[in-house]
């Protein structure tokens, strides 16, 4: 065999060694189709099971949660176009009761859904206003109309009986 041929063979061997090196890489063993599917399956199971704590905590919350019935005010104490603050369902959750120009009673938790600032009733414009960042809410629905808030104010369900307004429940998402 001539020297040139020997040289060529030697270079071919080198190339083959490179290919073998490539095969020995850890990534080639661990990152393949099978491993990808197994990882995807693991993610599916993990995400699926991650929903269960929410179900369990919701169930436990239901067990503990009783619908509170709280007297808010006498109808006669609140004139049309006026509002009154109260707390519902706990003392730490401020709320606002409004008697609208249409002579309807509506109530919402009055923490702005943007950054929790208190929300006030603006009689002239008939809107609920968060003065911190000029967030406006529709007084009839509690839905955001303008400004940074994206979610509605939690609605407090009311009952009017014997000339008095009672708060009887709450809907966080509504409308």
């Amino acid at each position: 065999m001539s020297d040139d041929k020997k040289q060529t063979h030697h270079e071919d061997d080198k190339d083959m060694i490179k290919l073998i090196d490539n095969l020995n890489r850890k990534d080639d063993v661990h990152l393949n189709r099978r491993a990808f599917l197994k990882a995807s399956f693991g993610a599916t199971v993990a995400i699926g099971l991650a929903t269960t704590p929410f179900g369990i905590f919701t169930f436990l919350r239901d067990e503990n949660g009783e619908v509170k019935r709280v007297e808010v005010t006498d109808i006669d104490d609140l004139a049309i176009g006026e509002s009154r603050n109260f707390n519902y369902p706990t003392k730490n959750e401020p709320a606002i009761l409004v008697r609208t120009p249409d002579d309807k009673f509506v109530a919402y938790n009055n923490k702005c859904t943007h950054l929790q600032c208190p929300v006030f009733y603006e009689h002239k414009e008939n809107v609920l206003l968060c003065p911190c960042h000029k967030g406006y809410f529709n007084v009839d629905s509690g839905q955001p109309m303008a400004g940074p808030p994206q979610r509605e104010l939690p609605k407090i369900l009311l009952e009017i009986k014997d000339g008095k307004v009672y708060a009887v429940g709450r809907e966080i998402r509504h409308g």
Partner: protein, 65 residues
């Protein structure tokens, strides 16, 4: 589409379903929408169960001699 291929792709479908269910469960939980939470959990568990079945079908076909 053969059984193995169908099982392979269905796992990704179930993955998407579970992501959607988890986002619904979280939104429902913080929004006090109990029905939405229970619905999302039910969907997620069924989807996980089906994904497990699909995975074993795929595994059986994949490692068959």
């Amino acid at each position: 589409m053969d059984k193995k291929r169908a099982a392979f792709f269905s796992i990704f479908l179930f993955l998407a379903v579970n992501v959607f269910a988890l986002s619904n469960a979280i939104e429902g939980y913080y929004g006090h929408e109990d029905g939405r939470v229970y619905g999302a959990v039910t969907v997620a568990l069924i989807s996980t169960l089906l994904a497990t079945v699909a995975f074993f079908i795929w595994k059986k076909a994949e490692y068959k001699k």
